[in-house]
């Protein structure tokens, strides 16, 4: 996971249009200014840039109840598969 974390934070930062401060694991998701499509777009970019697969079913709500960026990184860590 550590190998990806820096790249994931970079990608998330690009989509965080509402962010004014630093981006790290403790940053609240609410501060990022992302909308409901942003998570899907972030994942798409992760798949394209890192050449991995992130299979998930939105109906199973794998990204529900995330408070911080750390929660998002942990959720992604569970899903990321090397191609």
């Amino acid at each position: 996971m550590a190998e990806y974390e820096a790249s994931l934070l970079e990608i998330i930062k690009e989509h965080a249009v509402g962010l004014t401060g630093e981006l790290n694991r403790d940053t609240p998701i609410a501060d990022l200014g992302i909308d409901s499509f942003s998570v899907v777009e972030i994942i798409y970019e992760i798949e394209e840039k890192l050449n991995v697969e992130v299979p998930f079913n939105a109906n199973e709500n794998p990204f529900g109840d995330m408070a911080t960026v750390g929660d998002l990184l942990d959720a992604l860590d569970k899903l990321i598969k090397k191609k």
Binding site: S36, F37, V40, F56, N57, A58, N59, E60, N61
Partner: protein, 403 residues
């Protein structure tokens, strides 16, 4: 003088059956047409997803004649359904009637397989696309083919509103008849987008089901895409009576609106207002006589939102109303959903049998209406609704009543 609109013919080609009789048998028996299938492209791409396809209709398509062999599959399906509806109605289109007949056939995406074939030919085999490619993919192709095939020269065009397309086509066509622009109309929709490219695009949205479609069930996890077409013959009531036509159902109401909220997440306010608009002027003496063929896609969000919308409109009577999602059996036909689901609603009312919501494993507290789980049941239905709540926040609800 008020012009009323009635249904005098129906035709369908669906994953459950290639005509009205076999479609109704499938619905009544609670049969599922959902299977896992592999789709391939260019000898190197492949994906396997649950779908609701139509198989074994090559002979049926061939029998449509040479013009239709030059058409995309979505046009072929529309013509199969429309031909059955016209035969069912007993109507004969002479020149005078043809000029007063509308033809409104919708689709979500149009000639998807032709588009896929064209790109594969160009990019993978360095070939040019088929010369009739443009004519095959345009969304108005079915309406135009039917106009030519049956000499229909009244208002003719396609409508498109994703999953609400079929209901919109029927509502718009009924309005044309009511306003006097036509006396008869073919109204419905068609979709045949089970191609490798389209299914990869659906998979990329991460909302397809893993195994099957489970509307309203706690373990539901998404859509299953299907293909097919459904067409109604609509007629001005006096015109139908004058020629001794059998009136199958009346169009009792039609509601259409937009959520103005989100491209994908549905809205209780928008959906409930569309149902209310459809029910305006419809008298309900006994709420247990109301059947709602739900949009019921089996996604996390649609099913509880639709439940809340139904409760908002029917209040204490919502528990008496009977609901089912036939998408559990025939899949989500996208633009053609309204085309075949309005027919399911009418057939339920005509036969006094509510088709079930199959694959229903476990109740969800957020979805607490009577969804007719797993087995059809008898019910004297006086009003049948068909709900459609589409991507982009577009809602359309048609209400039918007995003749």
């Amino acid at each position: 003088m008020t012009r009323n609109v009635v249904v005098t013919g129906m035709g369908v080609v669906s994953p459950l059956g290639n005509n009205i009789g076999t479609y109704w048998d499938g619905l009544r028996e609670g049969r599922s047409a959902i299977i896992k299938r592999e789709y391939q492209a260019a000898d190197k791409f492949s994906l396997t997803v649950p779908v609701a396809p139509i198989d074994d209709i090559a002979d049926m398509i061939k029998s449509l004649g040479r013009d239709m062999l030059r058409a995309d599959r979505f046009s072929q399906l529309a013509v199969i359904a429309a031909d059955e509806a016209i035969k069912d109605s007993g109507i004969e289109f002479d020149e005078a009637l043809g000029a007063r007949t509308a033809c409104i056939i919708g689709t979500g995406i149009g000639g998807q397989t032709t588009l896929d074939d064209g790109y594969q030919a160009m990019l993978c085999r360095d070939r040019r696309p088929h010369p009739l490619t443009i004519l095959k993919i345009i969304p108005n192709a079915p309406a135009s083919h039917l106009s030519i095939r049956h000499g229909l020269r009244g208002p003719t065009f396609a409508v498109s509103s994703a999953c609400a397309t079929g209901a919109h086509a029927i509502g718009v066509c009924a309005d044309l008849i009511r306003s006097g622009s036509a006396d008869v109309g073919l109204a419905g929709s068609s979709e045949a987008a089970l191609s490798y490219g389209a299914l990869e695009a659906w998979k990329a949205m991460h909302i397809l089901a893993d195994e099957t479609c489970r509307p309203f069930s706690k373990n539901r996890n998404g859509l299953v895409i299907g293909e097919g077409a459904g067409v109604l013959v609509l007629e001005e009531e006096e015109h139908a009576k004058k020629r001794g036509a059998e009136i199958i159902a009346r169009i009792a109401g039609f509601g259409m609106n937009a959520d103005g909220n989100d491209m994908i997440n549905p809205s209780v306010d928008g959906a409930s207002r569309a149902i209310e608009l459809a029910m305006e002027g419809v008298t309900v003496d006994d709420p247990s006589g109301v059947y709602i063929n739900a949009h019921g896609t089996g996604t996390l969000l649609n099913d509880p939102t639709e439940t809340k919308a139904i409760r908002t409109v029917f209040c204490a009577d919502a528990d008496a109303v009977v609901v089912s999602s036939t998408k559990s059996m025939h899949g989500h036909l996208l633009g053609a959903a309204g085309g075949i689901e309005t027919i399911a609603a009418i057939l339920a009312m005509k036969n006094g049998i509510v088709p079930p919501t199959v694959n229903y494993d476990e109740p969800d507290p957020a979805c607490d209406l009577d969804y007719t789980p797993n087995k059809a049941k008898e019910r004297n239905i006086s009003v049948a609704l068909s709900n459609s709540f589409a991507f982009g926040g577009l809602n359309a609800v048609v209400a039918f009543s007995k003749p």
